[in-house]
Symmetry: C2
């Protein structure tokens, strides 16, 4: 159960589809050339393949344990985390000022993918730390930044996001945790937080908990939520660790997957109050949290791609090894390896096409984010920011939804062996299942896509993306052959389906919001399929032009794009039908609550 | 985590769609009226809800264990199995001559569904015993029948199916287990069998293993396989148990799901040879095994429906209980139970529609099987047998594929809680995952649907089914309203897609078998969706006519049929596109083995 990073595909996307040379022209990213990307990715592939990947199955078999307030991670995790920190991997995309490497998201994204493919349970810890770093960079005081960022970025300390409470899951308006000012600028925090990933563990010296809480007299609902930093150990002025703070892990969950990653229930203030520090302004916590969330959501989308790729690699290895049955076309008298059977080939091609399509879309989105943050002129920044923001719920929603299907196909390729835990395929099926839930369920992504990303700007960002798809469609027209014909026909139909749904959402949001939201998840999937297909179409064009340079690689790219066109893109029409038929009394809500 | 059998829907299907009154006119089934069905189902609902359902989660938490050759099942299972036997539940559809109740499959099917919904791990034991009974009835000598059937049918002993060996999974031609004649009519069996469900356990006094093996000088391949009965304990002439036979469990598997059901590795003949008895004629074992398999495949299809329904019930209960967020249409100022949110409603409606559609198709198929076995004239028998045989791989393939999606939606409805094992939703997601694999993977069902069920008769059975769909389409035309319009449009399109694919299969089977088999699983899904939709259309007609009798029930049926039309049936077109585009060098096999 090894993991080999798909460096060639990653670099192809970075170079040809996400256009790293353009990113390298941005102020601050001058060194972020293709050569830099290649060097960083090579190192990442080595570290993740050699250090983290071998611990993945072990972590599932021998998960984190809880005893008497202490969480002990899987043997090997602590040492791996030390190597991770020493290698500078936490700092890839963070500012040089605090010890980071200040590389673009376009280079960080494949690093994140590799780490999650190698070991998703391990990778969750750095992913959450990234979120904490992001929040501090955005809104933290200089003092908090100086005190915490260097340690977090060095991978010495870790960070957490504390949103959920028993009564407050998707609906953060219901948060009840209290933060009482102490008069010295600090607060005392009281409350219970659940589902806190790496809320307690033994891999780092200290943990910076970022906690949503209410100050006294804060307005009700989401406008009265503040964001506080509550360290596990107090930090002295000289940076050394002081007393243990009053935040304690009271249990960890018994989960379906990502078992090595401890999911903690944290109790704040049971012994007098946990000392916390306000991040940014009071009552603006949700806003800051959304900045972290957007970064984390993109990261979870990449997790989907990562798990899908790992499941694919395992399935391919099995299919090339397992001998069973003669070929249906009579081309051999003997039993053959099962990769020769058309249905197995179809499953593997489906896994591959979905993964490559989602990867391409995510990396392109990462480049947009880089431009949105670093372009010299404000118009360009705003324009790319709008498209990136539109793509975030699609990358998160679609990459994770498809990862469940891909992991399930991975089990299926293994036949009966897939159901046996020792094979490893089942772990991916279990691990993937959280991805459509945490950092906002697919429905929450869909609400975001509809409300903030489609309706709020009157469909402008959506239409800007569609215009780019149109440009690709026009470029497809300049080529001939079966793959181009299929891609043009299917992508064109998919594009129209997506355009129709955007108009449907805009037209009905006010008059029939139930109908619009009933199709919200289908809208995310539709956008994911069509926009992944768009990237596959772009790859088809590039690989056709460059085929002679590397016939096997580009030939595979062309075949995969063709497969995507015929086998994945047609689903767009079914999704469109489901969405636009939801209107009226006989629509999706016709079945009354008491009829269920 | 209780289970309430959906008696109303079951009886609706039995009465209105599967036409039990017609079955009750068949010779031998005179007592099998709707009243009988109702009485049996009421009792089954009680037994399964009260005795088996409470043990389901317990079995997952505390699975069967293996130690020193002995398998100990979950506490409570042994006693439940005693009650199961005493209640006569193993004998529901078996001949009165051997102690059974001789009821039609149409009444047995809902009993099997209930048992599997209540506790799929438990239900596997009777399911396999049904297969052994079926094989003995088909081909067993009178002596074997007299010695084994009364005990098996009484639920005192259990049966197993021993097909798989390490090198022989889907491809039974590779079976190596040997059966050496002893000159006294018995054989000595030597070999290793894996993946044997309830291959060893403590619930019954004896186990009758049905084993595929080769006699000396048997032809190679599938034509040299015989079927033998190997008892765990020898059976004396007076029916009492004799010595322990030389078949031993050497381990059980660590599985993703159905954990309470022990999956054994059995070693035959390590201590001199396991005594076995030939069932039927030598070298015809595979043929007999296929009789069992067809029955078992139908049963596994029903398992899919069962797990889907249980997952649905759990998700509905959670959605009616969990309060989170205000409604999107502004109809309440307070947070509401999540069933009020359109996306949750859509997920629940999807789960319900898929489950009801698959149930209706399976029960209708069961009635066809009853007619195929019991009709007075041979033509009717042959006609119904052909359609039933066509439907078996569809019921098995589609009901199990959809059950994975339904169980996954069940997790999603629960949000973060769905990922916590104590909630119970994750168990269904894990349990369902075996269903598309055992008793023949979906690809194996698909091969059967293509080879034996579509091509062999030149498409006759397929066209007979399509003609029935056409009759329903004509009947839909006689009604008006949005539900009928939608159903006619979508079912008509689905019917055409299915008809096109049947012709595609027939036209290309010889010239391009790879293309045909590449789309085989999509063909199973397409048939499952269209034929489930056909049954939902029939339900729509009946419920519209009878709406006044029970407005809530029939109203829900109408709404669910309408939902099926708009949200499920459109997938037919995507499947068709995927199938018919697979032809030629640039088709599904364009990606060469070494490019994966």
């Amino acid at each position: 159960m090894s993991y080999t990073a798909p460096l060639k595909d990653m670099l192809f996307v970075i170079d040809e589809l996400a256009d790293i040379e353009k990113v390298a022209t941005l102020p601050g990213f001058e060194d972020a050339t293709l050569e830099t990307a290649q060097a960083v990715l090579d190192e990442a592939a080595k570290f993740n393949g050699e250090v983290l990947a071998p611990l993945n199955f072990e972590g599932d078999k021998n998960p984190s344990t809880f005893s008497d307030g202490v969480v002990t991670t899987t043997p090997g995790f602590k040492d791996a985390f030390r190597q991770f920190g020493e290698g500078g991997w936490q700092g890839v995309m963070h500012p040089a000022e605090f010890g980071g490497q200040a590389l673009p998201k376009l280079i960080a994204a494949p690093c994140i993918e590799m780490m999650n493919a190698a070991n998703i349970s391990f990778a969750l810890c750095p992913l959450l730390t990234d979120g904490a770093i992001e929040a501090l960079l955005t809104a933290g005081s200089d003092e908090l930044k100086q005190r915490y960022l260097p340690k977090l970025i060095a991978g010495e300390w870790t960070g957490t996001m504390n949103l959920t409470e028993p009564q407050a899951g998707s609906d953060l308006a219901l948060v009840r945790t209290r933060a009482e000012p102490q008069g010295d600028g600090s607060f005392k925090v009281f409350g219970t937080k659940i589902f806190i990933t790496y809320g307690e563990h033994d891999m780092a010296e200290n943990i910076a908990h970022l906690v949503l809480a209410r100050t006294p007299n804060a307005p009700e609902g989401v406008k009265g939520i503040s964001l506080l930093l509550v360290p596990k150990f107090m930090v002295n002025d000289d940076g050394s660790l002081g007393e243990r703070n009053d935040v304690h892990c009271v249990s960890i969950e018994h989960k379906l997957g990502i078992k090595a990653s401890p999911t903690a229930v944290l109790q704040y203030g049971d012994h007098g109050g946990a000392i916390g520090y306000m991040i940014g302004e009071e009552n603006r916590g949700l806003e800051y949290m959304f900045i972290m969330m957007n970064a984390a959501r993109f990261g979870v989308g990449v997790q989907g791609i990562a798990v899908a790729d790992r499941a694919y690699q395992l399935a391919v290895a099995y299919a090339k090894d397992r001998v069973q049955s003669r070929p249906v076309d009579g081309s051999a008298k003997q039993s053959v390896t099962i990769i020769h059977h058309p249905d197995v080939r179809r499953m593997l091609a489906t896994m591959r096409a979905l993964t490559e399509g989602a990867r391409a879309l995510a990396y392109v989105a990462a480049a947009y984010s880089d431009i949105a943050h670093h372009a010299a002129d404000a118009d360009t920044r705003a324009q790319y920011a709008a498209i990136y923001e539109f793509l975030v719920p699609v990358v998160k929603g679609w990459s994770t939804e498809m990862s469940i299907d891909v992991a399930s196909l991975g089990v299926q390729v293994h036949g009966g062996m897939g159901f046996i835990e020792e094979t490893g395929a089942a772990q991916h099926y279990r691990d993937a299942r959280i991805l459509t839930i945490y950092e906002g369920t697919t429905a929450i992504q869909a609400n975001d896509l509809i409300g903030r990303k489609t309706v709020k700007d009157g469909g402008a960002a959506a239409r800007a993306v569609l215009a780019q798809v149109d440009a690709t469609l026009a470029a497809l027209k300049e080529h001939e052959g079966a793959a181009f014909d299929a891609m043009h026909r299917r992508l064109s139909a998919g594009r129209d389906a997506l355009a129709n749904v955007v108009e449907f959402v805009l037209a009905n949001m006010k008059s029939d919001p139930n109908a619009v939201f009933a199709g919200s998840v289908a809208y995310v999937k539709l956008a994911g399929i069509v926009l992944s297909g768009w990237q596959m179409a772009r790859a088809l064009i590039v690989s056709t032009q460059k085929r002679a340079d590397d016939p096997s690689f580009h030939g595979a790219k062309i075949a995969t794009a063709h497969f995507f066109a015929d086998h994945i893109l047609p689903q767009a029409l079914a999704l469109e039908a489901s969405i636009v038929s939801a209107k009226g009394d006989e629509g999706v809500l016709a079945l009354a609550v008491d009829q269920f």
